[in-house]
């Protein structure tokens, strides 16, 4: 993993993912303590730069930072600086001038976090860039899978929905396949990315065909705009063909897990009461999100030296 940044899952590789998942065990334990706080990032400052409104992801990161005793600064779209039409370049250079160790960025345009790494010295963490990547989501999804299934290697995972426009799908495909899972994408042609045949996945247009043969169903949120863009005829038709309806849910293996990155459109991609079933682990995903983000922040800011380069010398006893 690049010691400085987390931009995509590809930055990590299978080893990097494992390392972060192992670290997360420690932070799950910290989060369950009476006082869920460790001093490890004391004196470090993390800035949130969210150009897309996303209370849940930002709060997840914020909780993670606080539990590590870091200070935080919020430059998100609801606050004024982003709205003034200031360029991203000027905004991040202003943030850096105020003294931050890391910037967590979410932006509607792919590539912005990478561009920012060229403009500042601080560590950059991608909290979602356009359709491209959302690495911390993929990590928390991997952690959740490990929690429930022990091992991701060999798991049969179906990712269902608007793959083309989904940064969650891209990062999950990268992470799940790196960890040895068999991934199948389920979507109509119009919601699949171009050249998807070159991705390391199976592709099908029929959810019914794969339902009985998967260990995990990962549902993506279906957005209203896709109907307006002539990509699907209507949400009703989408739900009929690709939604996890009550009848499809009944046909799932009782041990199969149901996952969703949130927020859910009940009645569209997922039937209204399915999230309450014991097979749905959506709230676990959210809970794990904090611990995973603690691992990421810790790994980037709290362990600056690559452990492989130094022998542990006098630190003992």
């Amino acid at each position: 993993m690049s010691r400085q940044h987390l931009l995509t899952i590809d930055d990590l590789g299978a080893d990097g993912i494992e390392e972060l998942l192992d670290l997360t065990d420690s932070f799950v334990e910290v989060s369950e303590r009476r006082i869920p706080k460790v001093p490890v990032l004391r004196g470090k400052t993390v800035a949130w730069l969210f150009y897309e409104d996303s209370t849940r992801t930002r709060l997840s990161f914020e909780t993670a930072a606080r539990r590590l005793s870091a200070d935080t600064m919020n430059f998100s779209v609801s606050s004024s600086s982003v709205n003034k039409g200031e360029s991203v370049l000027d905004t991040v250079q202003t943030i850096e001038a105020m003294g931050v160790d890391a910037i967590v960025v979410r932006h509607g345009s792919a590539g912005v976090p990478r561009q920012i790494t060229g403009w500042v010295d601080a560590s950059v963490i991608n909290a979602g860039d356009g359709w491209h990547a959302h690495p911390t989501q993929a990590l928390l999804d991997c952690y959740t899978l490990r929690q429930h299934r022990g091992n991701i290697d060999g798991l049969r995972i179906a990712i269902v929905g608007d793959i083309k426009h989904s940064r969650v799908a891209r990062s999950n495909v990268a992470a799940f396949t790196a960890m040895g899972a068999d991934v199948t994408l389920v979507a109509p042609r119009t919601l699949l990315p171009p050249a998807v045949g070159l991705w390391p996945v199976e592709v099908t247009h029929s959810l019914d065909d794969v339902l009985a043969h998967v260990d995990v169903v990962y549902l993506l949120r279906m957005q209203l705009e896709r109907q307006a863009q002539a990509l699907v005829p209507s949400l009703r038709e989408y739900t009929a063909e690709y939604g996890l309806t009550a009848s499809r849910f009944a046909r799932l293996d009782p041990d199969a897990l149901i996952m969703h990155p949130g927020p859910m459109n009940r009645g569209v991609e997922i039937a209204a009461d399915v999230p309450e079933s014991p097979q749905a682990v959506v709230t676990n995903q959210v809970r794990n999100g904090v611990a995973v983000r603690m691992s990421v922040l810790f790994r980037l800011l709290g362990s600056e030296v690559d452990p492989r380069q130094l022998v542990e010398e006098s630190f003992s006893g």
């Binding site: 362990s303 630190f315 006893g317």
Partner: protein, 191 residues
């Protein structure tokens, strides 16, 4: 400590090369037995004791001490483990990945904690451990048991129960294993 070196054996860190055996398995066993008696002498019962081994060098010893205490008194005290990675004072200077999650079996308030580690050296690990324990309650007392005290303290930390005092040079290293204690050095491996 040497445990950590082993974990970082080539090409990462270095290899521990033993030069002399300081304690053999029997001497180790006897020392543990003696320390257990000393612990009971100082404290009255095992019921209010919690024996906590520091990851990773103190975990095995903590279990053996707790077992010994159990044999002597009839009931073994609670055992836990503590990883101090997040409390170190040298974060940013040295590798700081935790070895394993902390497991503290109970609220520490009003308990007597016996911290256990294999080697006491500069005292910084123990300082970090005291900080960490702080987040788990307010113990009535914290006592320190180590198998080897090798000197060169950098902080005002002193052990309550010691297996063996072993004067060492700074460039030497001490390795505690279930079979015995060796004095030697770390040979830097390939980076």
């Amino acid at each position: 400590m040497a445990e950590r070196e082993r974990r970082r054996t080539p090409p990462y860190g270095g290899v521990f090369i033993a030069r002399s055996r300081v304690m053999d398995a029997d001497e180790l066993r006897r020392a543990i037995w003696r320390m257990a008696h000393e612990i009971l002498e100082r404290n009255r019962a095992t019921a209010e004791l919690i024996v906590i081994g520091l990851q990773t060098g103190g975990v095995d010893l903590a279990e053996r001490l707790a077992a010994a205490l159990g044999e002597i008194e009839g009931t073994a005290p609670l055992v836990g483990t503590l990883d101090v990675a997040f409390y170190r004072d040298d974060i940013g200077l040295r590798p700081v990945l935790p070895e394993a999650p902390t497991e503290i079996p109970d609220d520490l308030t009003n308990k007597v904690v016996v911290l256990v580690d294999d080697v006491l050296y500069t005292g910084r690990t123990i300082r970090a451990a005291l900080d960490a324990l702080h987040d788990f309650g307010r113990p009535r007392a914290v006592q320190l048991a180590v198998m080897i005290d090798r000197g060169h303290r950098e902080l005002p930390i002193r052990p309550d129960f010691v297996g063996k005092n072993l004067p060492t040079r700074r460039d030497e290293a001490v390795d505690v294993t279930p079979d015995g204690v060796d004095l030697g050095e770390i040979q830097r491996g390939e980076r």
